[in-house]
C-alpha cells in the first residue's frame, strides 16, 4: 500500500473496517505500508517486478517522489488499485490546478498569510510537479475504487473479493438509486443555495432547487449523505464508465431540470467547476485543457 499526496483518509477508512480487520489481516502479507509497517522505499524498489499481488495507491502525484513511488508500485504489483478519489480523479488536491504552480507556491509559501518572508523550500524536499495530472495518465490501474474516502464497507467488499480471487462486483448505479427521497418529476423553478430555506426532508433535494449531484455520482456510498439530509457533492466521481466528465454530466442534468433563463442560472451557480467537478477536475475535459496548458507553460 502506497500513498502519494493526500490526506490519508482512505487508509483511515480502511482501518475503519474495525473488527473485520481481524478476518482480513491474517490473510495478508504486507510488503509495503509506510505508516503501518517499517518498510522503506528502497525495500519496495528491491522487490522483483510483479512480485506483489495487490497494491493500493492512495493520493495524487504532486511531487517527483510521488511519481517515482507510483511507477515503482506499478512495476512491483500485479494488480494495482487506484484507491480513493484523489488517486482516481485528482480529488480535492486536483483543484490546485485552478492555479498554476507559481500561484500555488505564492499562496503556500511566499505570500502565506501566517508567515512573513516565506520562501519556497528547496532543500530535502522532493521537487514539486507543475501540475496535477491524473494518476492514470502516468500508469495504468487495474481497479478504481473511488470515494472520499471509500466507505469501509466498500473497502471490505473489495478486499474480500481480492482475497477470494474473485472480480470485484460494483453496482453501476448513481447515488439516486440509493436515495429514499420522493421524486415528483417537476422542473426546478429556482436554484437554491444550501443556506436558502428549509428542505422538505422527504423530497428530492434537486427538485426543491438544492444542487445535488447525486444523479451524476457513482453511488458506491449507497446514498450516505442524501439520506442523511445533505446534498451529494459527488465525491465518488462519475458512475461507470467512470472516466466521463462528471461536471459536464451534472451541468447537463441540472440544465435539464432547471431550464431557467441564463442570467438566473449564472447568478445562482457561481462556481460550477467547484460544484460539479469538486473531486474530478483533473480528469474533466476542462481540467485536461488546463493540464495541457500548464505542461505547455513548462516547455
Amino acid at each position: 500500500m502506497a500513498q502519494a499526496s493526500s490526506c490519508w483518509g482512505c487508509f483511515q477508512s480502511l482501518i475503519d473496517i474495525h473488527m473485520n480487520l481481524a478476518t482480513v489481516l491474517p490473510a495478508l502479507e504486507i510488503k509495503f505500508w509506510v505508516c503501518v509497517v517499517d518498510y522503506k522505499l528502497a525495500d519496495l524498489e528491491g522487490y522483483p517486478d510483479k512480485s506483489i499481488a495487490v497494491g493500493l495507491f492512495e493520493g495524487v502525484v504532486r511531487t517527483e517522489e510521488d511519481l517515482h513511488l507510483l511507477k515503482t508500485m506499478r512495476a512491483k504489483c500485479q494488480t494495482l488499485i487506484s484507491f480513493g478519489s484523489c488517486s482516481c480523479f485528482g480529488g480535492i488536491p486536483g483543484l490546485a490546478n485552478f492555479s498554476d504552480i507559481e500561484e500555488c507556491l505564492d499562496v503556500k509559501f511566499r505570500e502565506n498569510k501566517t508567515v512573513s518572508g516565506g520562501e519556497v523550500p528547496s532543500e530535502n524536499v522532493p521537487a514539486i510537479l507543475p501540475v496535477i495530472k491524473p494518476n492514470h495518465d502516468y500508469v495504468d490501474f487495474d481497479i478504481f475504487l473511488p470515494g472520499c474516502p471509500p466507505t469501509s464497507k466498500l473497502i471490505l467488499t473489495a478486499v474480500t473479493a481480492l482475497l477470494k480471487g474473485e472480480p470485484i462486483e460494483l453496482e453501476p448505479h448513481t447515488v439516486c438509486h440509493y436515495c429514499d427521497r420522493e421524486k415528483k418529476d417537476t422542473p426546478v423553478e429556482k436554484i437554491l443555495r444550501p443556506f436558502d430555506g428549509n428542505a422538505d426532508p422527504d423530497r428530492c433535494l434537486l427538485e426543491q432547487g438544492y444542487i445535488c449531484v447525486g444523479s451524476a455520482t457513482w453511488g458506491l456510498c449507497e446514498g450516505l449523505c442524501v439520506n442523511m439530509g445533505s446534498t451529494c457533492r459527488g465525491c465518488y466521481g462519475p458512475p461507470p464508465p467512470i472516466m466521463q466528465d462528471q461536471g459536464a454530466n451534472a451541468m447537463s442534468m441540472l440544465g435539464t431540470y432547471a431550464p431557467l433563463p441564463p442570467e438566473e442560472i449564472k447568478e445562482q451557480v457561481k462556481d460550477p467547476l467547484g460544484l460539479f467537478n469538486r473531486f474530478t477536475y483533473a480528469t474533466s475535459h476542462l481540467g485536461s485543457i488546463r493540464i495541457k496548458r500548464e505542461e505547455a507553460k513548462k516547455k
Partner: protein, 148 residues
C-alpha cells in the same frame, strides 16, 4: 477521448482555427443549407455536425471538442420558444450558462464558444455567426496558444 490532438496546419501556413459547429436539424442546419442555396459566403473553418436538437447536446460535447483541440465551438439552434421539440433549446441554454462560467473558471477564453439562435430562414444570421466566431477565435489564436 485522450487521443492527442494533431496539428493539421503547417507552421508557415497561415493558421486557420478549427471550429466544431453543432447545429440542430430544424433551424440552424436548415439555415446553413439556406446560406448555401443563397450563396452567402462565410469562412470555411466550421465543420457542421447535425444533431436533432440543441437539447441533445450535453456540455460534454462542447468540452470534449475543446479538449480534443478545437479552437472554437459553435452551437446553433432554434430561437428560444421556437424549438421543433418544444423546449430542447431552453435546456441547452441553461446548460450553456453553467458551462460558460466553468470554461472561464478553467482559464479558457469563453469567446471560444458561441451559442446562437438562427432559424431556418435566417441564413445570413447563421453565416454571420460562423464569421464572428471564426474571427473571434482567430484573434485569440490557437487554443494551444492559451498556454504558450
Amino acid at each position: 477521448m485522450t487521443t492527442e490532438p494533431t496539428e493539421t496546419t503547417n507552421e508557415n501556413e497561415e493558421w486557420e482555427p478549427r471550429i466544431v459547429a453543432y447545429c440542430c436539424n430544424w433551424c440552424s442546419y436548415a439555415g446553413a443549407d439556406l446560406a448555401g442555396t443563397s450563396r452567402i459566403q462565410y469562412p470555411t473553418n466550421a465543420r457542421i455536425l447535425r444533431v436533432n436538437c440543441t437539447g441533445r447536446l450535453s456540455p460534454e460535447f462542447i468540452l470534449a471538442a475543446l479538449d480534443m483541440g478545437a479552437d472554437g465551438v459553435l452551437v446553433s439552434g432554434c430561437h428560444p420558444g421556437d424549438c421543433h421539440y418544444t423546449s430542447g433549446n431552453l435546456k441547452a441554454r441553461a446548460r450553456w450558462a453553467m458551462m460558460e462560467t466553468a470554461i472561464e473558471q478553467a482559464g479558457v477564453d469563453p469567446r471560444r464558444v458561441r451559442l446562437q439562435w438562427a432559424s431556418a430562414s435566417e441564413a445570413q444570421l447563421f453565416a454571420d455567426g460562423v464569421r464572428e466566431i471564426t474571427e473571434q477565435v482567430k484573434e485569440l489564436g490557437p487554443i494551444r496558444s492559451e498556454w504558450k
